[in-house]
Every structure is written in C-alpha cells, then in structure tokens.
C-alpha cells in the first residue's frame, strides 16, 4: 500500500497532560483524509508534530515509506508537508508575495530580495489552482477567505505534496466554505494529498474520503466516509451516542422583555456595522441570531450591554429605555451577559474564582460594606455557584481562574450570570471550544432559563446550535436584519441563503 504519510503510535506528553497517547494515522496518496476529534482530543498536537513544531515522545513517522525525524518546520517543508493553520500565520503589513516567500526568499545580487520574480510565480500558481489572489495586496487589506488562499499558496509555492488544513472553515462564510471545498477537490485532482482537521461532521461528509477518529489522545479507528453515518462517526468521537436534537418543550412566550428599534452602531473602524436593526424578544423564548462572523453581531450585543455607544435607535428593557445608561446601570436593570470571549471579557484570569464570581456585584452588599470587601459573604456566594453549576477546579473557590479548563471557566461565567437572575440573558457563542459534555450541559441550562420565563438572546456562529436551541431565528447579514423565522418552519438551506443576504421568499411574519 502506498501511503504518503504514516504516523504510528505517536505519544506526546506536556507537563501534567498527555495530549497524544498512541495515535496512528495513515494518509493515502491523492485522498482527503479527515482527522476528527473533539476540542482537546489532541488533533492540533498531532499535526504540530507532523509539521515539526513538537517532537513526539514515542512513535514513528514515515513519509513516502521512509522513516523521518521532523525536527522543525523547515524539515517538514523539505519533505513536502505544508500546513494551513487555524490561526493564519500571516504578517499583516506585508504583501501577499512577501508572506509567501518569507523563509525561502528569492534573491538577487546575493544580498538583495527579489520580489518581482516571486510575485510572478505566485500569480501563475494562483491562476493554475483558481485562487485569484493579487500578489501585491497587503494582507491587512484582504478578506479572511483571501488570506486563507494565501496560506494555501504558501504551501504550493514550497511544492508541498501533503497539505494539512487545521479547522479551515471556522472563519469562513457558507459561500467561502463551498469555494474552499472546490479548491480542495482541485488540489487532490492535481495529485496532492490532504489531511483535514475538523470537528464538523458535515464537512467530512462533503469532501473527505476517509476519516480517522481520535478521542482523548487515542485513535478510535479509521473509516470510509461514504459507508459511515454521521451518527456513527459522532459516537466514535464522543464515546457514547449523541443526540443532535436538544429536548425541549414548545415555548410559551410572554410579555416583551427586549425591544430593539432601528439600532445603528458603528464599529471601531467608524463604519456602520449594524444598520437599522429591530427585534423584539419575549419572556420565555430563545431567539437565535444567525449569521456569519463579523456581520454586526458583536456590535449588536455591545450596544445592548452598553459596551459600545449606539449611533441611533433605541433599546428598551421591560419598557424602560436603556439609551445613555452605563454598563453597570444596564446590568442592574436586568441584563445578564455571557460574553463572546470568555478570557478577554468574561473573566479576570489572575483573580480567584471567588473574586470572579462577584465581578459585577463586588461593590454591593453583602459583598461590600462601607467600601470594604466582605470575604465571608464572597466565599459563601462562590461555594453556592460552584456547587449548583458543577464548576470544577483544583482548590475550590481559591483557585486562580487561569488554571481552570475552558469548560469550567464557562460554567463559572454562566453560573455568575444566571445567579444574578436577569430578565434578559444574552449568550454569545456560549459553547465555543468546549467538549460535547459541557456543550450539552450549557444547552440544558439555557433552555431551563427559558422555561423559567426569562428571555434568552443567543448569538452563535454554529448554525446547528442556533437551530437546536432557538424558538425563533433572526438572520443578520452585513449589519442588516434579513428576516426572522420560526425554527419549526425553516431549515438549514433556507437559513444559509438568508445568511448570504437573500431575502426569504415570502415576507417575514412578524
């Protein structure tokens, strides 16, 4: 059998954690081979080893049948292995060509940099694979999808035969995802072999030939994608059967809690990111905001919570106008906010859990009296949340949050926000980067809030999550509301079209 890459029995240990423990994966020439696993299963570590960023503690790597030692990315390049990283490795102020040649520059006059001949080659490659990239554009001026193509060009420029794609669709629009899948098929047709790292079953079904599943650092098995159902692969990934549907009752919406009227918000570049957006949200329902990343969701949430000033329009909570109120005043009038970036916004990583759990109420009794913190009350509060939300950490309330896992950090935030008993709970990407167990737990908690009669506003980039949790779905594109649909009356295809900006065939009901 002719494998281009074989990784056999790979083990890699980091201080305190075994990231890879006996993983085996074999890549055939000319195939798209998916590497499937949950967040934290060890996919990225494994590929970093193949790319020479880490050295395995045990196991062998063979390329074209020969055993190799890949001590750094240069060696990987020479062996014809290239990688499109999840977080692009591009230097913003450099041009496309400069980024592509970085590290293997073309020279003139011995010391000089020869950009011209390189740019010509970039242009040729770009044409041949249908990538359509301007070699002289600066990275900071081109779209995310284009940037990804630059990453692909980087590999092609170095004559890579094996291409590794690390979660390549996370940042792309549905249209861009389709384009990318076309590009991948093209590459395989030209004789390249591809490893696709992902946790999205849909993508695997769409492009991959075979799939290796890993769980907690171990290989579970390799299957032919065509003969294996999504459910079967999901079960291999998680280790138990997973229901894709969340159990929930029909909603019974009550009075209007949040009323947004023609809200316009500028982003940090002073461009209108949200344009005349209107939405009503009722007690006892979950409304999901569906849209591709960067279409105004962040600005919408920041304008509701007071983190960003709105240009025009109104936001009412329980009939009371929020305009002009500070973040704190809005919190106090009944907004709970599970922020998009938990480590940047949601937590002070160097504070203990106890301290983090009073982040919004540290100055109120019983946690503060006469300007002095009240440790006993703070501890009691923390213990309550830690218990009722199953937050696990090394040393209980005294643990520094930085040392906790992502799932437990998120549970702490959700506990903190839910315990404040807000009328409106805003959850932005509440399950990003978490394992399936935590995801299920958080979903249950959100539905529980709805059933208690709270209004829940959910923003997620994962369409499945929006479809599973929401009672109604508001689709946003380029800062504008495309339409609002009932979840029971729509499907993925329709939403995908709306996310791309196409109006719903019939006029929205609301």
């Amino acid at each position: 059998m002719d494998y281009v890459v074989e990784m056999v029995g790979i083990r890699k240990e980091f201080p305190g954690i075994v990231a890879n423990d006996d993983i085996t994966i074999r890549l055939k020439k000319g195939e798209i081979h998916a590497l499937l696993g949950e967040n934290g299963a060890g996919k990225s570590t494994l590929m970093s080893i193949l790319f020479g960023m880490y050295q395995p503690d045990r196991g062998t790597i063979k390329v074209n049948g020969k055993e190799v030692r890949i001590s750094n990315p240069n060696v990987a390049n020479k062996l014809g292995i290239g990688m499109v990283h999840q977080h692009f490795k591009l230097v913003d102020p450099f041009t496309v060509t400069e980024n592509i040649i970085l590290g293997s520059e073309t020279r003139k006059y011995y010391f000089g940099l020869d950009v011209k001949s390189a740019a010509k080659r970039v242009e040729e490659l770009s044409k041949r694979y249908g990538l359509n990239v301007d070699p002289y554009a600066k990275i900071e001026d081109i779209s995310v999808g284009m940037q990804q193509r630059v990453e692909i060009l980087k590999m092609l420029y170095r004559d890579a035969e094996v291409l590794i794609f690390d979660e390549p669709t996370a940042v792309l629009t549905p249209q861009e995802i389709e384009d990318l899948q076309g590009i991948m098929r093209n590459l395989v047709k030209e004789g390249k072999s591809i490893i696709l790292i992902t946790h999205k079953l849909k993508e695997i079904k769409a492009v991959a030939d075979r799939c290796t599943v890993i769980r907690r650092g171990k290989t579970i098995g390799t299957v032919d994608v065509a003969d294996t159902s999504r459910e079967a692969m999901a079960e291999m990934m998680v280790g138990r059967s997973v229901s894709f549907k969340v159990d929930k009752q029909e909603s019974s919406p009550g009075k209007t809690v949040l009323q947004i009227q023609s809200l316009t918000v500028k982003n940090s570049k002073k461009v209108d990111a949200l344009k005349g957006f209107s939405l009503d949200l009722h007690a006892g329902e979950i409304v999901g905001i569906a849209g591709v990343d960067g279409n105004g969701q962040s600005e919408l949430i920041e304008a509701i919570t007071g983190l960003r000033q709105a240009e025009s329009g109104t936001v009412n909570l329980n009939g009371k106008a929020l305009n002009g109120l500070s973040v704190r005043q809005r919190n106090e009038s009944g907004i709970g906010h599970i922020p998009e970036d938990r480590q940047k916004r949601g937590l002070v990583l160097d504070y203990t859990i106890e301290e983090n759990l009073i982040l919004e109420v540290y100055n109120k009794p019983p946690y503060s009296k006469n300007g002095l913190l009240q440790p006993a009350a703070i501890r009691k509060h923390a213990e309550h949340i830690i218990q009722s939300f199953d937050v696990r950490s090394g040393t209980g309330g005294r643990s520094i949050v930085r040392s906790m896992s992502g799932g437990n950090q998120q549970k702490a935030i959700i506990g903190r926000e839910v315990e404040r008993d807000p009328d409106l709970l805003i959850a932005v990407q509440p399950t990003r980067g978490l394992d399936v167990g935590s995801i299920e737990y958080i979903h249950r908690r959100l539905i529980e809030q709805r059933d208690k009669g709270k209004a829940v506003l959910l923003v997620s980039l994962e369409l499945d999550e929006v479809l599973n949790l929401s009672d109604r779905i508001a689709v946003i594109n380029n800062g504008e509301l495309v339409g609002i649909v009932k979840t029971s009356e729509t499907n993925e295809r329709e939403l995908g079209l709306m996310m791309a900006g196409y109006q719903k065939e019939e006029a929205p009901h609301e």
């Binding site: 980091f14 990225s44 790319f51 960023m53 750094n72 990315p73 240069n74 390049n77 990688m83 990283h85 977080h87 692009f88 490795k89 591009l90 230097v91 913003d92 102020p93 450099f94 400069e98 980024n99 040649i101 970085l102 590290g103 293997s104 520059e105 020279r107 010391f111 000089g112 940099l113 980087k154």
Partner: protein, 317 residues
C-alpha cells in the same frame, strides 16, 4: 537669523548623530520584537569602554588618530556584548523587557563609575583629543548647502549616515530584513516559515547594543571629550525618537534631527538674542512635550511592530 542658523547647524548635527545611531539600533531590536529601554545604559557602556581604550592607547601612541577608530570599534563590541544580558533575559527567559532594560541602565550606570573610580579615582576618564571637525573639500564651497552640511563635520557623522542608508537597505531590501521584521510583527508566522525567531531577536538586540555603543563613543569623541558616568538621558531621547519616527529609518532621521535642533537651540538660546526672548525652561522641555503630543497623535495609527515586547513562546499559538 541666517547667521544664527549657520552657527548652530554644526552643533545641532553633532548632537543629532549619537541620537540617530542609537535610535537606529533600537529600530533593529524593536523590529525583531524586543523593546530595548536599556539604550541609555548601553550608550554609557560604549562611552566608558571607548574612553578607557582610547585613554590607554593615547598614552601609548600619542597623537595617532587611528586610536580613535579602535576606540569606536571597542565601544561597539563592548556594548553588543553587554546587550546580551538583555537579550538573554528577554528572549530566553521571557523576562519583563522593561524591567530587564531598566536593570541594564542601572548596572551600566553604577558599574562603569565603579570601574572608572578604580582606574582614575575621580570616576571620570578624559581623552586627550577626539575627532577634529573638518570641512569637506569642494562640497563645502557650495553656497548655502556647503555652509550648512559640509563645514565643521566629523568623520563619525558620515559614518553614521552611511550606516543609516545601509540599515534602511538591510531592513527593506534583503531577506534578512524581511525575516527580522516578521519576527517583530508575528513571530509565530516567522516560526512556521522556518525562521529561528530567537536567533533573529538576538541579532536585533545585539545590533542595538553595538549601535548604542557607537552612539556613546561618538558623544565622547565629538563634543564631550570625557566619560562622566552618564549620557544625559540621551538613550531615553533615542527611544522617544524611535517612536516619534514611527519605527522607520527616515522617520527616525527626522525625529533625531528635530531633537538635535530643539536641544541645541535650548542650549544656546541665552547667547543668541533672537532666541533669548523665550524662557529657557520652555525651550528645554519643548522636545519632551512635543513627544507627548506625538504619542497622542500616533496613538490611533501606530506603526509599532505588533509583537514588540511580547515574549515568544513557540508552544503558545
């Protein structure tokens, strides 16, 4: 007015040059991703070693001018070596670069005087003569330009200007420059492209050290003539020039010229009637206040290398 300008021009240039070379060195360091707040200390080391070497050699070979060049070279080498302390702390140990730089300043300030006292007792080292200013043949005869740029010039001025041109070429027209800059902007991208980020940063810091050493020695060999244990805070002014010049060679040239002129004007204001109308304190604090204003203006669109000051940890992605 014209005669005033003509008079102060050579002084202003002489004052600009050490600033320029030091800021230029810092450009390499910061472009590679390491903040170097220890410029002042590195200049002091250059000034000390330069003075020491020349002091000893002038006793041996009095009146020889090649001795001065040896002193310059020794100063650059010594400061480059000294800068390894900063490189090691910030690159290998991921130490706080500001603290490490501050330590460099403090060590240089204390240690050089300590050593100088062991040598001379007073803590000052004087050299018998430095570079003599000269008029460039032919060019100094050109009207206006000749008077301004080519009279009473120092050899080191031309050397530093040459270094400026070479540095700009190296940074923007060679693979080395592309790699160095990528380490300061996005070290993980550089690493993925097979560049040894840590080595590049070492190179950046050591160039900064060598250039600062030159800067300190140029002060000694042009207008001060003795080592006194400090360089009047010029290292900090060089750092300000780097920011004011927005991390670009030409910008740095203009910024250092600005500081050179502003400081010279303040220094001579009392003897020049047309300037004496300004209170001297205003002229003295002028450059610093302008820097503060510049910091505000550039705060929106800074060209600072994105990863400058951040330790590089290849595990973190």
């Amino acid at each position: 007015m014209w005669t005033t300008i003509e008079q102060i021009f050579p002084y202003a240039i002489a004052y600009t040059i050490p600033l320029l070379i030091t800021a230029l060195g810092a450009l390499f360091s910061e472009r590679s991703g390491v903040v170097n707040i220890g410029l002042d200390g590195l200049m002091i080391v250059g000034s000390f070693i330069g003075a020491f070497v020349i002091f000893k050699m002038q006793a041996q070979w009095p009146g020889q001018s090649w001795v001065l060049w040896v002193g310059l070279l020794a100063a650059a080498a010594a400061s480059a070596l000294f800068s390894l302390l900063h490189a090691f702390a910030s690159i290998n140990l991921s130490a706080n670069q500001i603290i490490s730089g501050t330590a460099i300043n403090m060590i240089a300030g204390a240690l050089t005087i300590f050593l100088a006292r062991n040598i001379t007792g007073s803590g000052k080292i004087s050299i018998t003569n430095g570079f003599a200013p000269f008029d460039v043949p032919w060019l100094s005869k050109i009207p206006i330009i000749g008077d301004l740029f080519f009279t009473k010039t120092y050899a080191t001025t031309w050397l530093v200007l040459l270094v400026l041109v070479l540095s700009a070429l190296a940074l923007y027209r060679t693979p080395f420059g592309l790699r160095l800059r990528s380490c300061g902007e996005h070290p993980h991208a550089a690493e993925a492209a097979g560049i040894k980020v840590q080595s590049m940063r070492y190179v950046g810091v050591m160039i900064s050290g060598a250039f600062s050493g030159l800067g300190g020695a140029v002060i000694l060999l042009t207008y001060s003539g003795e080592f006194t244990g400090n360089v009047a805070g010029l290292g900090f002014l060089a750092l300000a020039s780097l920011i004011f010049g927005q991390w670009k060679p030409l910008g740095i040239l203009l910024a250092t010229l600005f500081f050179g002129f502003a400081t010279t004007v303040a220094n001579v204001s009392q003897v020049i009637p047309s300037l004496a109308v300004f209170p001297p304190v205003i002229l003295k604090i002028f450059p610093y206040v302008v820097t503060l204003v510049a910091l505000v203006i550039f705060s929106k669109s800074s060209n600072a290398p994105k990863a400058v000051g951040e330790p590089f940890d290849s595990g973190k992605r």
